[in-house]
Every structure is written in C-alpha cells, then in structure tokens.
C-alpha cells in the first residue's frame, strides 16, 4: 500500500499549496455576480486600451483598495459583445458603438447604452525606420490598404512590394481605420492580421517593406508618418497639440460603454477616471487627456 500512500501524500501537498494560495489572497474574491452588488468591476474590450485599463486598475487600487478591477482585452468588438451578452460592467472601445449595436442593446435591455469619453488617441501609420517616406496622404493610404497600390515605388519610396500589417476584425482600431481611411472599403486579402497594436509595430519594425497602423501610445522602433488629409493639404504629425485641436486627421476618442447610468462604486470609478488623477495615467501611458477643447474640436 506504500504507493497509494505516496500518491495521497503528494495530493495532500498539492492541496495544501492550493489552499494556502486561497487563504493568502483576498478572501472576498469575485464570488457573487459581478457588478455593483459585489466589489469586482469587470472591464473588457479594446486591445488599444487594455494597457490603459490595467494601469487604471493598478492606480485605483491605491485609491479604493477594496474594489477590484478585472481587465481583459480581446478587441473593442469583444467588449461590446460582452456588453450585449451582459458579461461585463464596462466595455472599453476604441471606436464608437455602431447604430446597429446600440439598437441591439436597446432591444435586449430596453435602455440606452451610456457612452463616456475617457481619453483621446491618435492613430499612427507606421513604416520601418529604413523607409525614406516621411508623409502620406489619406487617399494614398486607402489605395495601399485596399490593395490597389502594391509597390512602394508608386508612393515615392524605394521600389519593393508593400507588405500590409493590419489588425484582427474584432479590433476597434481596425474598424476606425476601415471607416475613416478606407471609407468602408475592404482591406486587401493579403493584409496580414495581427492580434494587437504592439504586434503590428513589432512586425513593421522588423520588415523594411512593411506598413501598419495603430494607437500612438505603442510606437517604438518605427517611424510614424505625418498624415495629409489629401494631396494638397499640409502634412500633420501626431503630437499632443495636433491631436487635441483636431488638426491631425486620424484622431479619435477612446470610450467606456456602460449598460446604465453608473451608481455607487461604478460612479466613483468613472469620476476618478475622468478626473485629473485618472487623466494623469492617460498621459503616462501615452494617450492624450480629455479636455473641453478636445471635446469641442471633435464635433
């Protein structure tokens, strides 16, 4: 019977480790339905915003240590789907909710979804640092990403096939780019789709013929192009002033969507996020804080 005793002993040890872990951490973990009744707030959605969400979670813990923020990414579409499925308290989205999605929400719950602007972002277009290009116009971008322009020669850079890096279709960044740059056209089939902005940037930094797009906060080791609204406009680079006053053509709000007007702990969180403290985190991560000017400038 020694073998059985050995096995039981091993299992007992494993069990003890597991139980120790249980006792060590917050005993009042997320048992219970998520939401204001418990003290866990679920935040799901945009990959562009997931780092921001995590930093907010870390900082907010210092402000309200008994509230636990649970942040996952997956893309803006994932967050909105979770909102519609009822599996999240807050959906982070790097694009506004589509009318169809808002209608679906209303049909399911009878309420309007609550939209809160929490940060400002510029969408950067990235090329490899060896690429001689410095600026590009939106019509040219459209032709490139729909596959009509296939060679770098056609936009004035060193000849070579253009390698496209795009995002998965659950990404708000993808949607924004599709709507505002491609004017709702389709991406070229040979656009490689990567899981996150940083993957896009990583790929472009390694590929001399690559071009990609993504939130500015992640830009490292790549060249960011200045954008011209059309061939005749001046080229604007994505820095704070240009994004805030709306002259940078590819700037967008980052949103929080809630299933109803926030109350209690949720309201405290929202107030904190839109306050100076929360917006300081926004700047830290690399986005741009919400200001009255910005809101006015963007329609």
């Amino acid at each position: 019977m020694t073998r059985i005793t050995q096995t039981i002993l091993l299992l007992a040890i494993v069990l003890m480790i597991v139980l120790k872990g249980c006792a060590q951490r917050a005993p009042q973990s997320s048992s219970g339905p998520s939401g204001q009744a418990g003290n866990t707030i679920t935040i799901k959605g945009s990959d562009t915003m997931v780092q921001l969400g995590q930093r907010w979670a870390e900082e907010y813990k210092k402000v309200a240590p008994n509230i636990v923020l649970q942040v996952t990414g997956g893309g803006s579409g994932t967050g909105i789907a979770a909102l519609l499925n009822g599996t999240t308290d807050i959906a982070q989205s790097s694009r506004p909710m589509k009318e169809q999605e808002q209608a679906e929400f209303k049909a399911k719950t009878g309420r309007e979804v609550v939209e809160i602007k929490v940060a400002l972002d510029g969408l950067g277009v990235y090329v490899n640092q060896a690429n001689p290009l410095k600026e590009i116009s939106i019509p040219q971008l459209r032709e490139i990403f729909t596959g009509k322009i296939t060679d770098w020669r056609e936009v004035g850079a060193t000849p070579g096939k253009i390698i496209l890096y795009s995002r998965e279709n659950n990404s708000g960044t993808y949607e924004y780019f599709k709507e505002h740059v491609l004017e709702k056209g389709d991406f070229a089939p040979n656009a490689q789709t990567l899981q996150g902005t940083s993957a896009v940037i990583n790929a472009v930094s390694k590929d001399e013929r690559g071009i990609g797009y993504g939130g500015i906060a992640y830009a490292k080791n790549v060249k960011v192009l200045a954008i011209k609204k059309d061939a005749a406009s001046p080229a604007i680079s994505p820095d704070l002033t240009h994004v805030e006053d709306g002259t940078y053509p590819l700037s967008r709000f980052l949103y929080w969507y809630l299933p109803q007007e926030p109350t209690g702990e949720l309201k405290k969180l929202v107030d904190w996020v839109t306050s100076q403290a929360g917006q300081a985190v926004v700047k830290d991560v690399g986005y741009f804080p919400i200001s009255k000017n910005a809101v006015a400038a963007h329609r």
Binding site: M1, R3, I4, T7, V14, I17, V18, G21, C22, Q24, R25, A26, P27, S29, S30, S31, G32, P33, T40, D47, V50, Q51, Q54, R55, A57, E58, K61, V68, L69, Q70, V71, T72, G73, N85, G86, T87, L194, Q195, G196, S198, A199, I201, N202, A217, Y218, K220, N221
Partner: protein, 311 residues
C-alpha cells in the same frame, strides 16, 4: 548458433553496402535534426529568460501590463485548473477503461461504440473543444443553472474556471482511458482467475487485486493528462482564461490566469513586445519546465513499473 545468425554476423562485419551506409546516415541525421531542434528550442528559451527568472518572478503578481512583476497568479491558475480537470477526468476515465477491459464482453456493439467514441474524442481539434465549451457548458448548462438557481442573473453562464476544467477534462479523457487500459492489460489474467477462484466477487477482484497493481499505470495516465491539460490554450481561450486578474480564483465561477494564455497574450498583444521578451521567455520556460517535469516523471514511473511487472 543458427546458420542464419552467423551469416548475418559475418555479413555485417565484412561487407558494407553503400545503401546500408547511406540509410544509416540518413536515419541518424534525422534523429540528430529532431534532437537539435529540441535543443535549440530549449536553449533559446532558457537564454532569453535569463534576467527575468527569479524567486520574485514566481511568487508575485504581474504589474505594468505584464512587463514587470511576476507570474504567480498564472502558476496558481494553471495548477488549480489542472487539479479540477483531473478530479473530473480520472474517475470517469478509469471507470471507462475498467468497463472496457473487465466487464464488457468483447465485440458487443456497446463496447465497440465506446471504443470508437474514445478514438473520435481523441481526434477532435482542440479549438472545437473550445467551441463546445462555449456552446454547451457556458451557454446551455451555465445559463440553465442561472435561470433555475439565480433567477436569470448571469453567474454561471459566463466564462469560468469550472467550465474550462470540464472542457479540458473531456479533451484529456482519452489519454486517461488508454493509459489505464494499457495498465489493466498488463496484469496477467491468472491474478484475476486466482482471485475469483478463491471466492472473491468481480468487483472485489478489481478493487483489491487488479486496481492496486494498475496504480502506476493509472498514475502515468493521470500525469500525461495533466501535462497535456496544462499546455492546451485553445480550449480555454473563451471558457475562462483572463490576462490580468487582481485576485486568485477561489469560486467555480471565477476566471483565472494561465501560463500558456499568458505566453499567448504577451507574445501577441503586449504593449511592448520587445520589453516583454524576457518575461515572455521566462513564462514559457516555467510552462515548459512544468510539462517536462510531469512527462519525465510519467516516463520514469512507466519504466520502473514495466520492470517490476516483468521481473
């Protein structure tokens, strides 16, 4: 010394045919290639994780979006997940193997049906298990539990560690069944016959004679199942894995962090892939170490057990 044997002995000593040599080289090169690739994989991961691997890394939470801090919650989540999975899969797998080998009359339709079900279960792609986890466990079972016990509030009807564990249990069920059956087959039929002749019932024979001897084999199967379950990511993508949880899972409806999922997210979605590389390599190393240790112990147990039975 049969004539054939001395013939071959002499033949291989005196005559080396070119075909022999090239085949020997080709097969040797193949083995070398495979082992080299394995070595490169291990060395590359070990080298990349220098600097990130430390006691703090194994025992603290991640911070700064996974770029700093440690992976303790991921280790804990993986272990808990695998524990629940084993509790679910082991009894069912062993019972199935016992039925197939001890009770079922050979070649009945039921026995053949179970066997083909096991073979097909083993062939189902892991992502299809994930789909099943969503479509059945979460949407159907979870929501039913919610409407019956919680009046419709969404409690069990969303990704949770219990559903991920059950999905993985289904995935690893064939591993347990096959290993247990192997163990049962290895026990000589004389032991069973002797027991029955002495007046024991069938179940007494199984419980007191067969199973104890089959324990090492069953253990091997459990370990292999654990190793497989700890490494699979596709089935848990939508059934409960999360990237940043500030608490450890303690309730069946909690989500959990997971080593493999952490590697996936860090590699594809982390804010700064290059800065995350050391942590990424280190997490991969920990996961590899976990599965390797499990597999090696299974192999050792299997080797010692085979020796014991033969001797």
């Amino acid at each position: 010394m049969t004539p054939a044997r001395s013939f071959t002995r002499n033949a291989s000593r005196f005559r080396y045919y070119p075909g022999d040599i090239s085949l020997a080289i080709a097969t040797g090169v193949a083995v070398l290639a495979i082992l080299t690739m394995l070595a490169v994989l291990l060395i590359e991961i070990a080298w990349g994780s220098r600097g990130a691997l430390s006691w703090e890394f194994l025992t603290t939470e991640p911070s700064k979006g996974g770029l700093a801090g440690g992976i303790w919650p991921a280790i804990y989540g993986t272990v808990l997940l695998v524990l629940v999975m084993t509790i679910a899969a082991l009894p069912v797998g062993v019972a199935t193997a016992i039925y197939l080998h001890e009770y079922a009359r050979p070649d009945t339709w039921l026995q053949r049906l179970i066997r083909s079900a096991v073979i097909n279960l083993a062939g189902v792609p892991s992502i299809v298990f994930g789909l099943f986890g969503v479509g059945f466990f979460i949407e159907t079972v979870g929501r039913s539990i919610d409407s019956v016990a919680y009046g419709g509030a969404l409690f069990y009807g969303k990704p949770a560690i219990i559903w991920a564990s059950l999905t993985l249990a289904l995935l690893t069920l064939p591993v347990v069944i096959v290993a247990t059956e192997e163990a049962l087959k290895a026990i000589p039929v004389e032991h069973r016959e002797g027991s029955l002749a002495l007046g024991a019932t069938k179940w007494q024979t199984i419980a007191r004679v067969v199973l104890p001897q089959a324990m090492p084999g069953i253990l091997t199967g459990a370990i292999l199942a654990i190793s497989r379950g700890a490494g699979e990511v596709a089935p848990i993508l939508f059934t409960g894995a999360a990237y940043y949880l500030p608490f450890l899972p303690a309730h069946p409806t909690d989500q959990f962090m997971h080593l493999g999922y952490h590697v996936f997210v860090l590699a594809t979605q982390s804010p700064d892939v290059n800065a995350a590389l050391p942590n990424l390599y280190a997490t991969a190393l920990v996961l590899l170490a976990l599965t390797f240790i499990l597999n090696i112990s299974a192999i050792v147990i299997r080797a010692r057990y085979r020796g014991r039975l033969r001797g």
